[in-house]
């Protein structure tokens, strides 16, 4: 047996975007075992939501769980609170929530792709991807008022309407983005150097994805067709606006890139359909009720299934709020998928997981 070395990476490391820690056991540069620790940024948000804040304020608090997918958190929380209040939100609010979720997915996927390029040693592609991503941040600011952490979904509906000139701007910017996306697809798909780094790296099989309960693009890249938008339509009508499942089969970094890029086309189509068919209605359903009972909600965030559990007791303050972020579901698979890979591939593999410890540790 070759001599084994233990190599730590993180919690602060130049190739890690998030404060997580891996300890790799390696033999001749090959990773044979991995340990993960995720305990660096617990902020006690669930506790704060059940003690310091009233249930209507909580949607603004959970928006701070994550800068990237705050719309997913505020929407999931609003939905679970609406279940406890037993109210139905206006149709226009549902469409506007889906619009912002898909704009958010565009910027989140592009951020992940750019970091995969960077960690694969392709800095020019990192900069190009980040440059093309900028439009989505500007559109989110135009719709929500913030580039990140948008307090758009509130209990009962949405906080802002979509102005006609903003809707027009979205359509124009998306039209300009499509050739840029085609260019990115061509590079990520066909660049020989990048494919040497990404093909076969960090692969998991569909069976492993099922066994380890993987979610999001990580699962879909392995051929596991799991997407909450396909499974639940009671709260947001995803299929009505053109949702389509995207899967790949090889389960490696390359397949994850492809899933994210192909999902961008789906997001563009969904946004265009929403704007073209945006119904007229109020934005908020008002109620004076207090949350009662318990409820759960699942929502497809850019990284996968986001789960909220809430329990109310007919007072202003919730009895319990539980948040399960997508990365949390993927931790078990993240540690297994390194095995057999070169240590040098680890940074690109980690970036392709798109981990969010801010969400996971909350």
């Amino acid at each position: 047996m070759a001599k084994q070395y233990e190599i730590p990476i993180g919690a602060q490391h130049i190739s890690l975007l998030e404060p997580l820690h891996f300890k790799f056991t390696t033999e001749n540069e090959k990773i044979v075992a991995t340990e993960a620790n995720v305990y660096y940024v617990h902020r006690g948000i669930e506790q704060a939501c059940c003690s310091k804040f009233k249930f209507r304020q909580v949607s603004f608090v959970v928006g701070r769980v994550c800068g990237l997918c705050s719309i997913s958190h505020t929407t999931a929380y609003s939905q679970v609170a609406e279940k406890l209040l037993k109210i139905e939100i206006p149709l226009r609010a549902k469409y506007l929530r889906m619009l912002v979720i898909e704009l958010d997915r565009i910027h989140s996927h592009l951020l992940c792709l750019s970091h995969v390029a960077e960690n694969s040693g392709f800095e020019a592609l990192f900069m190009k991807t980040m440059q093309y991503r900028e439009f989505s941040m500007e559109l989110l600011e135009a719709v929500c008022g913030n580039r990140i952490q948008y307090d758009f979904s509130i209990v009962g509906g949405v906080a802002r309407d979509l102005k006609p000139q903003v809707a027009q701007s979205i359509m124009e910017r998306l039209k300009k983005f499509i050739p840029q996306l085609d260019e990115l697809m061509d590079i990520y798909k066909n660049n020989w150097t990048l494919s040497l780094k990404n093909k076969g790296a960090g692969a998991i099989t569909k069976e492993d994805a099922m066994r380890l309960n993987v979610v999001g693009p990580f699962a879909r890249a392995a051929g596991l067709a799991v997407d909450v938008r396909n499974e639940t339509e009671d709260l947001l009508p995803w299929k009505e606006v053109g949702f389509e499942m995207v899967t790949e089969t090889t389960g490696d970094v390359y397949a994850r890139n492809m899933v994210r890029l192909r999902e961008l086309y789906v997001s563009i189509r969904i946004i265009e359909n929403i704007i073209n068919g945006l119904p007229e209605s109020a934005l908020v359903t008002e109620t004076k009720a207090f949350p009662d009972g318990e409820a759960t909600v699942r929502l497809e965030a850019p990284r996968g299934e986001l789960f909220y559990y809430a329990k109310g007791n007919k007072t202003q303050v919730l009895e319990r709020l539980k948040i399960k972020a997508p990365t949390f579901s993927n931790v078990a698979a993240m540690t297994e998928a390194f095995t057999g890979n070169e240590y040098g591939s680890a940074p690109a593999i980690i970036a392709s997981y798109d981990p969010c410890l801010s969400c996971t540790a909350r």
């Binding site: 620790n37 995720v38 305990y39 006690g44 669930e46 066994r211 639940t232 699942r298 789960f307």
Partner: protein, 113 residues
């Protein structure tokens, strides 16, 4: 959400009889304080459309140890480790120190009496 009550004695048998990796997706564990007891919950969804959420739950005393379901649901170790750290619940073969530092005060999400 479909809730199914179980006991610590029957938990592993109940989940083993229910869980099929190609049909069901294990989401997370949760714990809610109910008076002097704690309701521990195991959440599953299925891959079908439309999908249903199933919750197994057991009422336990704060000092009882719950059995691990890792041998049935491989990825459950993450949720079990989180419950140990955040709710100070004893889980079979699970140490503290995964979600929080090992020397952190146990159970920060438990209500202060």
């Amino acid at each position: 959400m479909k809730k199914i009550e179980t006991t610590l004695l029957n938990l592993k048998n109940d989940i083993a009889a229910f869980y099929k990796p190609d049909l069901h997706h294990f989401m997370v564990m949760n714990a809610v304080e109910v008076g002097d007891k704690i309701e521990v919950q195991w959440f599953f969804s299925d891959y079908a459309h439309p999908c249903e959420t199933t919750c197994f739950f057991a009422l336990i005393s704060p000092h009882e140890e719950i059995p691990s379901i890792k041998d049935i649901v491989v990825s459950a170790w993450v949720a079990e480790a989180e419950l140990v750290d955040l709710m100070n619940i004893k889980v079979e073969n699970t140490q503290k120190g995964f979600v929080l530092e090992p020397d952190f005060e146990s159970g920060p999400l438990r209500k202060k009496k």
